[in-house]
């Protein structure tokens, strides 16, 4: 076959792409560049970047009870928790210090899986670059806390499931308490 045919056909492909980039739509061979700062690609729901702590209504009653499971399970060990004590020195169910070192965290999502109290979830916020690496990227408690409706906004389906589960757990606990109360009431009547 003629010597240069392979090269000519190859050149034909690039020429076709050259003209296709002018008039074709992005799907079939057109120009699909999204010019980042002005236009953005929609982030997928399950996209996971660095974790954040969820609180229900006010930052005081956050879900995290400083049980330290996520710190133990985190592969690169980037979470540091110190339990809070009240004035009398008795431990409280709240962390005094909760630091995550974003330079160490590899956003693997294991903390989200193992947390029994649905307190920590992976965020969608990825524009957190900063000038200095040491203290700017070491997020402590106030920076990590985000409201539950933010969680519903960025991850609607997951948030819905979590809330449904928490609601159901709520009912079951209330029912259990009611049952215990009725049982206790029943016990009072029986012994006379």
């Amino acid at each position: 076959m003629l010597f240069g045919m392979g090269i000519l056909r190859g050149l034909g492909v690039t020429l076709k792409n050259f003209f296709a980039s002018y008039y074709k739509k992005p799907e079939e061979g057109g120009l699909f560049t999204v010019e980042y700062p002005e236009k953005r690609l929609p982030v997928k729901e399950r996209f996971r970047n660095f974790p954040f702590l969820v609180y229900d209504t006010t930052p005081e009653n956050m879900r995290c009870v400083a049980c330290d499971i996520c710190a133990k399970e985190c592969p690169p060990k980037c979470i540091y928790i110190v339990r809070d004590n009240d004035e009398a020195g008795r431990p409280l169910k709240k962390p005094a210090i909760f630091d995550i070192d974003f330079t160490v965290c590899m956003n693997c999502g294991i903390c989200e899986e193992v947390c029994p109290f649905d307190a920590i979830y992976m965020d969608h916020e990825f524009e957190i670059a900063d000038a200095n690496r040491l203290d700017a990227l070491l997020y402590n408690l106030p920076d990590l806390l985000k409201p539950n409706d933010y969680f519903q906004k960025i991850r609607p389906n997951d948030a819905a499931q979590v809330d449904a589960r928490r609601l159901e757990a709520e009912e079951k606990k209330k029912a259990a308490v009611a049952a215990v109360k009725t049982q206790a009431a029943a016990k009072d009547i029986k012994p006379e």
Binding site: F3, G10, T14, S21, Y22, G29, T33
Partner: protein, 378 residues
Amino acid sequence: MDQLFVNLKNMALHLIGVFAPDWLVSLSSILISVGAMTFLGIFIMMYLTLMERKVIGRMQNRIGPNRVGKWGLLQPVADAIKMLTKEDIVPEPADRLLHFLAPVMIVIPALLIFAVIPFGRNMTALDLNVGLLYFFAMSSTTTMVIFMAGWGSRNKYASLGGMRSVAQMISYEVPMVLSVVPVLLSVGSLSTGKIVEAQADLWFVLTPWGFFACVIFFLCGVAECNRSPFDLPEAESEIVAGFHTEFSGMKFALFYMAEFMNAFSIAALTATLFLGGWQGPLLPSWLWFILKTYSLLFVMMWFRGTLPRLRADQMMGLAWKFLLPLALVNILAAGLHLYLGGPAGFASALIILLGSFMGLSKVNRSYVPEKREYVLAD
């Protein structure tokens, strides 16, 4: 419209002539054309870099530079500022003088070639009657300068690049010169102006020998200015950046400028010799010239966007064993065509050329891809 620039220059000369002695007038006419050439050279080079990045970008389904200026129009200015402000490192073992002299001496021939290119009807800066030979003389001096750059910077990759470029330049100059001979046969003079006038009714590329000569000249030209698919002297993947590895800042910009000016002059000369320079029906002559040259430059960028690189010995083999014999046969065919004249000449030239093309590609079996069959086992 056609003689726009020529009239502009005459007006300027009248203006100067009003209050200056006549020898100053002739001197200033020289200075005007020289100034125009240098400004043109730099301006072309800057916007060629932008055009290349845009064209290759579009071939790869991306936009290419569009951040600086409206469609990236200020990108070359940004590049120039970057190049100027970059630190100019001279490696410690390098030879000071050579390291300084190489970028300077590579731009000189690149600019000198502009003098002989016919930009439009009687718009050639210096219409020498040895115009074409002048072009070959200037482009042959770059070999030594490239090697000086490679050898001067005492870097293994650079000297490898230098050796490769010397080999490539020599092996591609011979077929390049021989491919121009048929044009001289039919025109009879070396001056580029006369060559363009001779193509008034028939462009040389439409004759069989003209087409083959154009392809050979263009391929050798691409190899002469180290552009893909022959960009071995500066093969990024193998020898980092070839002969200009150790150059940074303005010196590297000079190398870059020389490469693009060579590319422009090769495209311009191919257009002059084979595509009828500024000949063209309605548009003004210099516009025709720009259209033809930039379409050839588009082809060069098209090569760069698609073709992989040749290896050193294949590249030289291609020159000596394929292009050179084809150029020689082309001279024979051109002689036959001009001697016999008319359809008989045309047909015989065509037969000879196609036959030799087939024969040569048979002889160079190592270049022809083997057929391979693959077993789909389970």
